[in-house]
Structure formats: structure tokens, C-alpha cells
């Protein structure tokens, strides 16, 4: 078992003919992901790596029975691509694109609310169920199948923590990169809900960072609804207020919301141990076993 994606997922890649899109499609296929179609307006009828390309997502979904999309469309056109994917409709839409204007995302978010589609991202590395399928740009070789679910706002920090887990023999059910933007589809609470319902996920690692109040909301949710043990990590303890730390969403506001301290305290109150280092997070996970 896993969450969101598995070997049966039928994947359409939006933006498959672009540089990023074609490179990562190759990588996804090599990993074993069942990529069944591409969707690029005006490029229908072509093939990339032997995968048929359609002009519309709806056309691709109909012809190839696709249920999942990965979006590599450039920021100026990404919101339109996401709305198209929501309209198809699909079960899961993973938006890799970084730099989508905030107001575009507010409209997409508004449209996604009330649909049954899981929107992951944008500005995320993707989703992987080790040994089955990967969606996005995650390096497949560092992941190993196991019983720990992982949810993270950051790509490379995910790799770091996964590397620490894997090197100590702890595999993963699914890793979900939820993205570093201020407005994202699936948030910590949504991912925790999925992992809680997955019988094979015996523990969860959540990697948060400064900015917003998603981690605080997750802490409240864990306190009320989650029995699966959770260990946490929060990046940005040394970040000064008012400075955007790389991610558009990683900013401590002038009024003092979004601090690492607030998140660490909230998680602590919910009984979630927070590691001072990535290695220490794995120590906590080991105590769960």
C-alpha cells in the first residue's frame, strides 16, 4: 500500500515536449512509472520517447485512460494547465512548476476546492512510492520501499532526510513533496490524513519550514486525529524576519508569525518530537519501531 500514486497510476505529462518535461519523463519511465500520454496544445499526434502526445488533457485522459497528471508547464501558463487538469478530471495533479504568480494559484486553489482531485504542489519535487512509481523530479535511487511516510515542503531537504532514513535501513511507503509556495494544494493535514488511512504506513516524518501556519494546523490535527507516530523537522530556525529564504513561502512575517519556534512548540504540544538535525529525526523514528 501507499498513498496517492502506485504502479497502476496512469500518468499524463503536461509539457512533455519541453526540456524539463522530456528529460523527467524519461527518468520517470526508467523508474517504472506508467506514463501513458503527454499533453501539449498544438503538438497532438507527436510522440516523445514513444509516448503519444495529445492536444488536450481531456483528450489524453479519454484515449489513454489517464488518472494522474504531472505538470512541467512554464509559470506563465501553468495555472491554465492546472485548471485544464482539474477539468479533465483526474484523481491526482502534481505541479512541479516553480514561480506561478500567487493570484493565479489563488484561482486554481479556489477551483480545486470542492473537486475530488488531489492537487500537489506547485513548486514541489513530486511524489514517489518507492519501487512502484515516481511523479516529478525526485532522484529515485535514494528511496527504498518501507513503512515510513514522508511529507515535506522542500525538495533537497527531503532527499537529505530520506538518505538518513535509508542509510539506517528505514524505507518509505510514499514521499510527498507538497511544495514551497504560499498557496499549495495538498497541505500537511491532507497528507497526514492520507498516511493515517494507509495501513502500511507505520510512522510519518514531516519536514516543515518557516512561513505560514500549516505546521501549526498540522500539529492540531495530529493531536485530534492521528494515531500513527509522527516525527518532525523544521528548517529556518536562524532565518531573520521579513526575508524570503529561497522559497516564496518561506518567510517569517514582521508580526512574528511563521517562526520555526512557533512550529516546533506546536508540534511538541501535540506530542511530535522534532529533531535538531536530520539525523536526530531518524533517531526519533527508530524509537517508534
Amino acid at each position: 500500500m501507499s498513498v496517492l500514486v502506485d504502479a497502476d497510476s496512469r500518468v499524463v505529462v503536461q509539457g512533455i515536449t519541453g526540456g524539463e518535461g522530456s528529460f523527467h519523463t524519461r527518468q520517470m519511465v526508467e523508474y517504472g512509472t506508467n506514463v501513458v500520454a503527454g499533453a501539449v496544445p498544438g503538438k497532438g499526434g507527436r510522440a516523445v520517447e514513444g509516448i503519444p502526445v495529445y492536444d488536450t488533457v481531456a483528450g489524453a485522459a479519454r484515449a489513454e485512460d489517464a488518472d494522474t497528471s504531472v505538470v512541467f508547464v512554464p509559470p506563465a501558463f501553468a495555472a491554465d494547465a492546472l485548471l485544464e487538469a482539474l477539468d479533465a478530471p483526474l484523481d491526482l495533479v502534481v505541479a512541479i512548476t516553480e514561480g506561478i504568480p500567487q493570484q493565479d494559484m489563488a484561482q486554481v486553489y479556489r477551483k480545486a476546492t470542492g473537486t475530488d482531485t488531489h492537487l500537489v504542489g506547485p513548486n514541489c519535487p513530486g511524489v514517489i512510492t518507492p519501487g512502484e512509481a515516481k511523479l516529478g523530479i525526485l532522484p529515485g535511487n535514494i528511496f527504498h520501499a518501507g513503512d515510513v511516510g514522508l511529507v515535506s515542503r522542500s525538495g533537497t531537504l527531503t532527499y537529505q532526510v530520506v538518505d538518513n532514513l535509508t542509510s539506517r535501513g528505514i524505507g518509505q511507503t510514499t514521499a510527498v513533496g507538497i511544495g514551497g509556495d504560499p498557496i499549495i494544494g495538498t497541505d500537511f493535514v491532507d497528507a497526514l490524513e492520507l498516511f493515517e488511512a494507509d495501513p502500511d504506513t507505520r510512522a510519518v516524518v514531516m519536514c516543515g519550514e518557516i512561513g505560514g501556519e500549516d505546521e501549526e494546523a498540522a500539529a492540531r490535527y495530529i493531536g485530534e486525529h492521528v494515531d500513527t507516530p509522527v516525527a518532525g523537522f523544521i528548517a529556518g530556525r536562524t532565518a531573520p524576519p521579513g526575508k524570503r529564504m529561497g522559497h516564496a513561502g518561506a518567510i517569517v512575517s514582521g508580526s512574528g508569525t511563521g517562526t520555526a519556534e512557533s512550529k516546533i512548540d506546536a508540534l511538541g504540544d501535540a506530542g511530535v518530537p522534532v529533531g535538531d538535525t536530520p539525523e536526530a529525526v531518524v533517531d526519533h523514528v527508530e524509537t517508534f519501531r
Partner: protein
């Protein structure tokens, strides 16, 4: 991108919101001329280094906005921002204008009325009325304030703002409503469709290194420590900063080279960090996904081989894609290699301590 007050007021003025008469001055003479033509009393407001600043009594100071002082009865607060948790814009009104609104929010949250707006519909007339009446704005000016709130929302949507704020919105004795201050932040990611606003932008003046980082296209934030930090990916770079602090050091900067960086970008990153005089040691932490270890190693070699003597010790940790190939390429006469994030940070902290002795 934050607009200067005079720029934001220009945008407001164009949209039909009343602002005080004003003029920008780059010299004391200009300021006096402006004040005389506007008529005293005036308020003088620093605007940053708009046109290079001015010299005053031997000191270099910022340009100023010379503005007619407004004689007011009441000070309100109106604003529009993004509620990121809800993924929705929120329009705000308060009768506690003229003071720090964050303090009001913390101490008397009920004194600020928040009205969420559906981004697909835009602000409705009833929403603006509701916010204004529930905030307790005087009946005489409620219609005007509601109209200003709608105009601000429309500007927010049209200009891709992330935040618009008027504090204070002044109400004069004869019930005129004037925006005495103006804050407007525009989404950097949306500047591609607002060339007029992009032209107003200038690098946040003050820090040359941050300006240089903008040129290179790095996400860079300068801090006050002595351990220079370079890495890939926001979360991992933040973590590296945190670990420097955890092991007793002090981070000098945040520098994210981004995903898929080639050798030249790596070289530029090292040049940047060496350009900061306070740096005593550098830790280079790469976990390659789409970034390749061999490219990074080549970039580090190229950056360091240009020096007769390495300016400050560099500790490198490479993991992920092509890390092994990178290790073989890396000139270990020039750098210290560490296998883990933790050991690399500890080593850099030690070097920085030795260097600052």
C-alpha cells in the same frame, strides 16, 4: 517587490484615490522649493535611494517625499492581503489607523474586520459595505471608505499585489478621505506581466552583496555571522544555516544555487561568498537531484584554482546524483571533503573559529 511610498501613491492617484499633494526631492534646495510650491506645513518622508540620495551637511541621506500635511479628525486602516492558509484574499478595515497595525492585530484582533474575497468573483459591493460598517466607520464617510476598499482590491488583483495597505487613511474635518500613507508589495513571480511595475523596481538598496546576488540570479540573504553557506534547495540551505548555529557557529549568509546548476554558477556562488569580508570559512552542501555532483565539483575547482592562495577554507559535502564522480574530480588540495552534512558543518564551524582568532 516593494514599491516606494511615492510610487504606490502614484498608483493610487491614478486609480482615483485621493492622496496629499507631494513632490520628490533629491537635494535640500529641491525640498525647500517643493515645500514652498505645496504650501506649509509639509511632512518630509525618506524614500530610500531613489535617485542616488542627497548629501546633507556632509552626510549622505536618502531622497525625500515632501508632502502636504493633512489636518485630520480620524485615522482609519484599510488593506488587502493574501490569507495563505485559506488560499484567499482578505480585505481589512479598522478604525484603529495611524498606529502599528500588527500591534493592533496582536492586542485587539476584533478591532480589525476581515472579509475574505472569492478570487473568481472579485470584491462585491456588499462585502466592502459589510467590512466598513462592521468596523464602525462613521456613517458620513462609510460610502467613500467602502469605495476606496473596492478600488484597493481591484488594484490588488490588477497589479498582482501581494499586499496593499493604507495606514492611516485620514478623514478630514469636512469628511474627505485621503490616503496619507501607501504600502504596496507586488508578486515578484508576476512581474513578467507588469513591465511598468518592474521598471519601478530597483534592488533593495543598502547591501551591495544582495544586489550582486540579484545579478547572478541567486536566492541570497546576508546574515551577520562568519560561516559562508552555499547549497541547493531552500529547505536544505536553511537546514545548513540552522546546523551551523546548532554546532556553535554563526551563519554569514543563505545562498541557494537552485536546481540543476552548472559549473559556472557554482563558481559565481563561491565568488559571492568570498566577497563578504566577514566570512572566515565556507561550507558547500549539495544533495543532487537534478543538480549533478560532477558539475558542482568542476565549478568548485575552477573557482579555487584562480587563487594563488585559497582566501578562506572551504568544506565540501556532495551527495546524490553523480556525487561519486564529483568526489573524483574535486581537487582535495584545495578543499576539505566531509561525508555527512553534520560533519561538514562542524568542520566549517571549527575553521571559522580558528580563522577569527
Amino acid at each position: 517587490m516593494k514599491l516606494h511610498e511615492y510610487q504606490a501613491k502614484g498608483v493610487f492617484d491614478e486609480a482615483g484615490i485621493a492622496v496629499p499633494d507631494s513632490a520628490l526631492a533629491s537635494s535640500p534646495d529641491e525640498a525647500v522649493d517643493a515645500a514652498e510650491s505645496i504650501g506649509y506645513p509639509v511632512a518630509i518622508k525618506a524614500q530610500g535611494q531613489v535617485g542616488g540620495g542627497m548629501d546633507l551637511k556632509g552626510l549622505h541621506v536618502e531622497d525625500v517625499l515632501v508632502e502636504a500635511a493633512v489636518d485630520f479628525d480620524d485615522e482609519l486602516y484599510v488593506g488587502v492581503t493574501m490569507d495563505r492558509g485559506e488560499g484567499q484574499p482578505v480585505a481589512m478595515v479598522s478604525t484603529r489607523g495611524g498606529v502599528d497595525i500588527e500591534t493592533v492585530a496582536a492586542e485587539e484582533p476584533d478591532a480589525i474586520v476581515r472579509e475574505h474575497v472569492d478570487p473568481l468573483f472579485g470584491i462585491q459591493r456588499y462585502e466592502s459595505r459589510k467590512a466598513v460598517y462592521e468596523a464602525g466607520v462613521d456613517r458620513e464617510v462609510a460610502g467613500d471608505v467602502a469605495s476606496i476598499l473596492r478600488t484597493l482590491y481591484d488594484l490588488w488583483a490588477e497589479k498582482d499585489a501581494t499586499e496593499i495597505e493604507v495606514n492611516p487613511l485620514m478623514v478630514t474635518a469636512d469628511d474627505e478621505v485621503v490616503a496619507a500613507d501607501a504600502v504596496m508589495n507586488v508578486d515578484d513571480d508576476a512581474l513578467f506581466r507588469h513591465p511598468d511595475l518592474a521598471d519601478m523596481g530597483e534592488t533593495a538598496a543598502g547591501d551591495d552583496l544582495e544586489a550582486k546576488a540579484d545579478e547572478y540570479g541567486f536566492d541570497y540573504v546576508r546574515l551577520d555571522g562568519d560561516v559562508g553557506i552555499i547549497g541547493n534547495g531552500a529547505g536544505l540551505v536553511m537546514t545548513t544555516l540552522d546546523l551551523v548555529d546548532y554546532y556553535g557557529g554563526a551563519p554569514a549568509n543563505f545562498l541557494d544555487i537552485g536546481g540543476g546548476a552548472k559549473a559556472e554558477r557554482v563558481t559565481n556562488a563561491l565568488d559571492m561568498v568570498f566577497a563578504d569580508d566577514s566570512v572566515e570559512a565556507v561550507v558547500f552542501n549539495i544533495f543532487g537531484g537534478i543538480t549533478r555532483g560532477d558539475e558542482v565539483a568542476t565549478g568548485i575547482n575552477e573557482a579555487l584554482e584562480q587563487f594563488e592562495e585559497i582566501p578562506k577554507p572551504v568544506v565540501v559535502r556532495l551527495a546524490g546524483t553523480n556525487a561519486e564522480a564529483g568526489m573524483e574530480i574535486l581537487n582535495t588540495d584545495l578543499v576539505t571533503v566531509e561525508a555527512t552534512l553534520e560533519s561538514a558543518v562542524q568542520r566549517a564551524v571549527e575553521y571559522a573559529e580558528e580563522g577569527s582568532r
